[in-house]
Symmetry: C2
Subunit: 133 residues, 2 copies
Amino acid sequence: MITWLNHIAIAVPDLSEATARYELLGGKVSEPQARVEEGVTVAVVTFPNTKIELLHPLGEASPLIDYLEEHPRGGVHHLCFEVEDIDAASTLLRSVNCRILGNGGPKNGAHGKPVIFVDPNDFHGALVEFEQM
Amino acid sequence: MITWLNHIAIAVPDLSEATARYELLGGKVSEPQARVEEGVTVAVVTFPNTKIELLHPLGEASPLIDYLEEHPRGGVHHLCFEVEDIDAASTLLRSVNCRILGNGGPKNGAHGKPVIFVDPNDFHGALVEFEQM
């Protein structure tokens, strides 16, 4: 079902510092992009086999504000796996008692593809996104 | 400097459950391996572009015991990036005020290669391992 690790998302308190750090380490870093609907500003770091998405709060309703209050240094926010069929993935995940966040079904994700997020309580404490490619 | 994401390590309270989950999701899962020196039992999940290492405490002195007390559901324990030269990586990381855990220099890692771990306080709240390949 999982075909690829799409990205690791890391919440950071200082986006400029974080992008400079990953550039120094050899990553190819994008310009920061506003994802208004998600309430985040994102800089994408590309490595040969995967990507890091550096996330910073955007706007007063950003869900990352609470996250960074709890984790002021930042932290690994979520992992994103690619799948071929989001409905088949949802069915499989529900069959092993994984609750899907939100309305329980796929929504349109940041890359314009259907995604689901699984409750971290049901996935070894990690917030995991599945994205149909 | 970073050439590849080697693995994401996830601490899990129930290794059998976690390996079954990742097999169901299409990962190729190894037999659990005891890494006595590190105090962990590891099952390696292989996906086309990277690996997940599922970690479970081994022995009474395992550093994962404290981790799982703090994170009883489990959690993303660390990320491991491959580098070409561990000494050059150490110098570069120190130049941006990253403290290297342990004695401050490389040690022999789980895959038989030199590794360093950077203090999460200095790396956006994430424990990051660098491994010379």
